[in-house]
Amino acid sequence: MADFSWVSRSPLEHALVTGTHGARGVEAGVSLTEIRNFDLIQVMARRGQAAELAKAAMARFGVAAPDAPKAVQTSDATLIWSGPDQFFVLSKGSKHTMQTLAPALSSPASLSDQSHARALIGISGSKARIMLAKLSSIDLHPEVFPIGSAAATSMDHTSVTLWRGGNRPDGQALFNLLVFATFAESLWHTMLDAAAEYGVDISHSEELA
């Protein structure tokens, strides 16, 4: 009997090469970090159950789930608006999975596992915003898109979820991007092309930022 191993392989594993890319001799203007192996559950209110879902979410997470394009930080998860009466629960370490969320939320909401359906990329650096302007039609000016803002939008004709997390320790803005897994490599290359002129620092991490 053969010995089967189930190695989890990120959709960016082939394309992502750790190190620097693009312009050299300058401090990298853009940092790209892929976050691997996360749990991502889509929560959608059942018909007429939006208020009940809000209550259940508050009980479960201790904070109100977003009812507008925002990302909310809880003690151990990020709740990201993904459309009317629906949000994502992003977490690590099996804290919020289909199994653990169902008892709390499945009465007012339907749940769908998206943990493998997306790649998650953290984008920061002094040129992050100007690079994103090549990919995103959204206005990311800090007054328009402050910390905690989220958007269900498109980049390169590909649906993405974009939100601004807390600033990095050096004060730089951090943008988080969820992209469909089968589009991830394509968008990754597009992003590298867009960022190359500023110099790119590429890494991956098992930790949510």
Partner: protein, 993 residues
């Protein structure tokens, strides 16, 4: 070695004399300075002849100093970077620049095509419509190539552009076009008010006419005011100044297009940088401070090299310290033209004479003339003597009828100024006529836009500053910013008195549109022939249709038409203005989307494993799919595919089918919802079972198909075809949100969550037993045909297993979370090794589906009904569903419809090809007896011959009939037999076993 810059002034100019640059024009080496344009550097070197005209190959020089230039078009750069029709007046000089003149042979000075001038009578307006009407076949063979060679612009590089372009978005409260006094004042006001500002300037230096015209602002010389203002703007974090950027269009909802020439001023872009960038700017308000364009006067010989716009001449003198001529005559109909005289005298150049068409000249200029010792002639220029070496002598008709001659090597012309009304008119706006300046000015603008300063017809420096400032402050206020704007910069207004003069009658060609060689007599001819409407005039004479879009010619053309048709200019009207304001390279619109990155691509979870196996990939929509897996020694695709099919039919194989659309359908009413979108019933599907479903469009035609499984009471897992995945999701959301909002249903795409593999062949169960947890019962009883449930796999992960078959074999589809897709492919190879498992691609998949008679894309082609596909029995009669009523229409249930049938050549050795038409045997093929066509074909390794499916009239009633396949595209005719579409295992024993 470059020659001396014979026409470079000793001092002045915004050029860096310490940075000398060598460049080549038509193979000859010259030198210029940093800060020069190609045009100013040519002028500094005394070059007057720079091109040949479009139709008549007349020698042409430099007319303007900006993007409105009609004459001085060159091929810039060489090899793959060669770009035709580049304006020498805007091309920045760089070390090693190479440019060549266009539309001449063998050389610019000796152009044999200038004989066209002798044939000028046939090249008049409407030439194409009047000439070479017959014989028709001569057109393609002789006339067109000959004319194309004779009349034209530059040559394209002919090879792929090696440079990169990209596109970007920008957002602001106030967008400003132009950095002249009005634009800078607007930026100051808006920026101080706290607005986010973007200012676009097409030039590489900020300041607009301030750079050429000088003056005093706020008591300071303009240069000082300019540097102070730019410093203030640079200190505002939310004011963004974009030079080398032309605002070229305005679109709905406050979206603007701009082209930034990021690296056009360098020989080639630095590594990782783009050549040009296309900007889409979203702005709440826009201030158009794009200035005005000086317009020529139409007179005989007005295209002689050395005849130049007066404002351009002082730009070359003041900004570039380059003298277009050493003894200059001015022909003007307005006060502003005289400023060129001041500039020329200031630079130590000689003034030969001023020819002023107005009855009076101001006292100040009269005394300037007497001090300068040059005559002021009241009258107009009626002819120019000269040629490719430039102007020699100017003929003047004096008011009162006498004639005079002036010796000069350059003629500055000012016919007044036309506000740049393009941007304000791009939403079908029609500018209005203003008599005092004899020019069109904006009459309203697209929402949120306003014109200020010269673009609004107010030319004085003081007016530009105050209007620009007010417009900037108002725009910021409208966008919600009310910070202290302070006070507007102050300057005096220059006098502007003008007596309109458009055309001086005389002998010889008088050009209106220089680039398209349209003359005053062409316009007169068009009027005589009835083409009086401006839109007719434009198309009949091609006035204003060249790459400059008539920036220097349109208004003069209208004025001449107005005069000959006895109407006023406003009565004559303008043509519709359309973007782009300047030509924009297609490459910039394409941006990143070219070659391999033409569109986004999707990769299956096992893509890189398949690549390791040497799979050949095929583009299927956005997807790259493994088409087949060639092995060493196989001579072609058919051999590989045949092996793969045989391996599946005789053993076991697997294929990544993750490209299918997958949708989670949740909710109390999920079953009822599916009943309405499918023709068959899903509410009665048992949990743990799958069912094939077919969707119609509301018009009764088949939309999509796939299997849908019920995983829980309120949870279905729906699959779509690869091609329609996105559209079906959109359709289902429409049904959910618009048609049936009363149902409790939630839809989520899980296409990317699951890696899905089809495992097929008689040894499928053997393979699965290796990899599935032994506790799972995979027997026919424990996991019957169309079963669907979660199973545990060895090694600790869960999978979903579906007993469905597309190949007709004993088969399962297995889904694992996508990040395990790569491992799944490897583990299937491992588990299947004892049974000779074979990965197969989409070709083998297609062969097996044709053998099994399953319909796919070529049959679900947007014209077929469920009954056409042989699936009519699935249509429920007990419920309403999308498309039900329309599917019952007479034509859609007619007995003579073309329906799916099997097709095989009677000659077993013959290849069947899709697209062949089916004709009754013994008849001559024609539209009247065309009974359908072959939709899908394959070589069937199982039957050892080519087989296919087709849509054939009454096909199902004609099984066994021999008909004729007619393939005019490939020139083939042969007999085929209509047969049961299920070629393989028609009773289905294998997939159920």
């Amino acid at each position: 070695m470059a020659g001396a810059q014979t026409h470079r002034l000793d001092k002045g100019g915004l050029i860096d004399r310490s940075a000398s640059l060598n460049f080549r024009f038509d193979g000859k080496t010259f030198s210029g300075f940093q800060g020069d344009t190609l045009a100013s550097a040519l002028i500094a070197n005394g070059v007057k002849l720079v091109g040949r005209s479009f139709k008549y190959h007349r020698p042409r020089g430099i007319l303007t100093s900006g993007s409105e230039e009609p004459n001085a078009l060159v091929e810039l750069r060489t090899g793959a970077r060669r770009e035709p029709n580049t304006k020498a007046t805007t091309a920045e000089l760089y070390e090693g620049l190479e440019a060549a003149s266009q539309n001449r042979w063998p050389s610019l000075r000796h152009d044999v095509m200038s004989v066209n001038q002798l044939f000028a009578p046939i090249f008049v307006a409407g030439f194409y419509y009047k000439t070479f009407m017959w014989p028709a076949k001569f057109w393609e063979a002789i006339y067109e190539p000959a004319i194309r060679r004779a009349a034209g612009l530059g040559r394209a590089a002919g090879v792929a552009d090696p440079d990169h372009y990209d596109k970007a978005w920008a957002h602001c409260d106030v967008l400003i076009a132009g950095s002249g006094p009005a634009g800078l004042a607007a930026a100051l006001a808006a920026g101080r008010s706290g607005a986010r500002v973007i200012l676009c300037e097409e030039d590489f230096t900020l300041g607009g006419r301030l750079l050429s015209d000088g003056g005093t602002i706020d008591g300071l010389p303009v240069a000082e005011w300019l540097s102070r203002t730019l410093a203030e703007l640079a200190a505002m974090p939310d004011v963004r100044i974009m030079t080398r950027t032309t605002l070229f269009g305005v679109y709905d909802g406050g979206t603007y297009g701009a082209i930034e020439r990021v690296n056009d001023h360098l020989p080639s872009p630095p590594e990782h940088q783009v050549r040009q960038r296309l900007w889409r700017i979203v702005a709440r308000r826009c201030v158009v401070a794009a200035g005005a364009l000086e317009r020529p006067i139409v007179f005989a010989g007005n295209d002689t090299p050395g005849v130049m716009m007066a404002s351009a001449m002082r730009t070359y003198i003041a900004r570039y310290a380059a003298a277009p001529a050493k003894r200059i005559a001015l022909f003007t109909n307005n006060e502003d033209g005289w400023r060129t005289v001041e500039a020329a005298l200031g630079a130590g150049l000689q003034i030969a004479a001023v020819i002023d068409a107005r009855p009076d000249v101001s006292a100040a200029y009269r005394s300037l003339a007497s001090k300068g010792g040059f005559p002021v002639l009241h009258g107009s220029v009626s002819g120019v003597e000269g040629g490719k070496d430039g102007v020699r002598k100017i003929a003047v008709s004096l008011t009162g009828g006498a004639r005079a001659e002036v010796e000069a090597d350059g003629l500055a012309v000012s016919g007044g100024w036309n506000p740049a009304v393009g941007l304000t008119s791009y939403h079908r706006g029609r500018p209005k006529w203003r008599d005092d300046i004899a020019a069109f000015v904006p009459d309203g603008a697209p929402p949120g836009m306003v014109a200020a300063g010269a673009a609004n017809g107010d030319f004085g420096l003081g007016a530009c500053l105050s209007q620009g400032f007010a417009a900037g402050a108002a725009a910021a206020h409208d966008a919600g910013h009310n910070g202290k704007a302070g006070t507007a910069p102050v300057a005096d207004d220059e006098a502007f008195s003008l007596t309109p003069l458009w055309h001086v009658a005389g002998k010889g060609k008088a050009f209106v549109d220089y680039q398209h060689d349209v003359t005053a007599s062409d316009i007169e001819l068009a009027q005589r022939e009835g083409f009086e409407s401006v839109e007719h005039l434009k198309r009949y004479t091609t006035l204003g249709m060249a790459t400059d879009q008539g920036k220097t010619s349109n208004v003069a053309g209208l004025a001449i038409m107005a005069a000959v048709s006895g109407r006023s200019i406003p009565e004559t009207g303008t043509t519709i203005y359309r973007p782009p304001y300047v030509p924009v390279a297609i490459g910039a619109f394409a941006g990143h989307h070219r070659d391999e990155t033409f569109h986004a691509t999707r990769l299956t979870p096992s893509h890189h494993w398949a690549a390791e196996q040497g799979a050949v990939f095929v583009d299927t929509g956005l997807w790259k799919r493994a088409q087949w897996y060639p092995r060493a020694g196989e001579k072609d695709w058919l051999e590989s595919v045949t092996r793969e099919v045989k391996a599946v039919r005789g053993g076991v194989g697997f294929c990544d089918v993750s490209t299918l659309g997958k949708i989670d359908v949740h909710g109390r009413d999920a079953g009822a919802f599916l009943d309405r979108v499918y023709i068959n019933t899903f509410s009665n599907l048992a949990v743990g079972k799958a069912r094939y479903g077919l969707m119609l469009r509301e018009d009764g035609i088949v939309y999509d198909d796939g299997t849908t499984s019920r995983l829980a009471e309120d949870h279905y897992f729906l699959t779509t075809t690869t091609a329609k995945a996105g559209l079906v999701m959109q359709h289902l959301e429409f049904c959910r949100q618009v048609l049936f909002p009363e149902l409790d249903v939630q839809l989520t795409s899980v296409s990317d969550q699951w890696a899905q593999f089809s495992i097929a062949g008689p040894k499928t169960r053997d393979l699965l037993k290796e990899i599935v947890d032994p506790a799972e019962d995979l027997s026919n009883e424990g996991f019957p045909f169309m079963g669907a449930r979660e199973v545990a796999l060895r090694g600790g992960i869960k999978a979903r297993l579906f007993r469905i078959s597309f190949s007709g074999e004993m088969a399962f589809e297995i889904s694992v979370p996508a990040r395990f897709g790569d491992a799944m492919a490897r583990n299937l190879m491992l588990a299947g090794a004892p049974f000779g498992v074979t990965p197969y691609g989409t070709e083998a998949l297609g062969v097996m589906r044709v053998e099994k008679g399953h319909v796919a894309g070529p049959e679900l082609n947007g014209t077929t009904t469920a009954a056409d596909l042989g699936l009519g029995k699935m249509m429920s009669t007990k419920k309403d569903y999308i498309g039900r009523v329309m599917a019952g229409r007479e034509a859609l249930v007619a007995p003579d419809r073309q329906v799916v049938v099997g097709i095989k050549p009677t000659d077993k050795a013959r290849r069947l090809r899709s697209g062949a038409h089916i004709i009754p045997k013994g008849q001559i093929p024609g539209p009247g007896n065309d009974q359908g066509y072959v939709t899908s074909v394959c070589f069937s390794p199982t039957l050892d011959q080519w087989i296919g499916l087709g849509l054939v009239e009454r096909g199902r009633e004609r099984i066994g009939e021999v008909v004729h396949a007619h393939d005019p595209l490939r020139g083939e005719d042969y007999d085929v037999e209509l047969c049961n579409p299920v070629f393989y295992d028609p009773d289905g024993g294998r997939q159920r076993g």
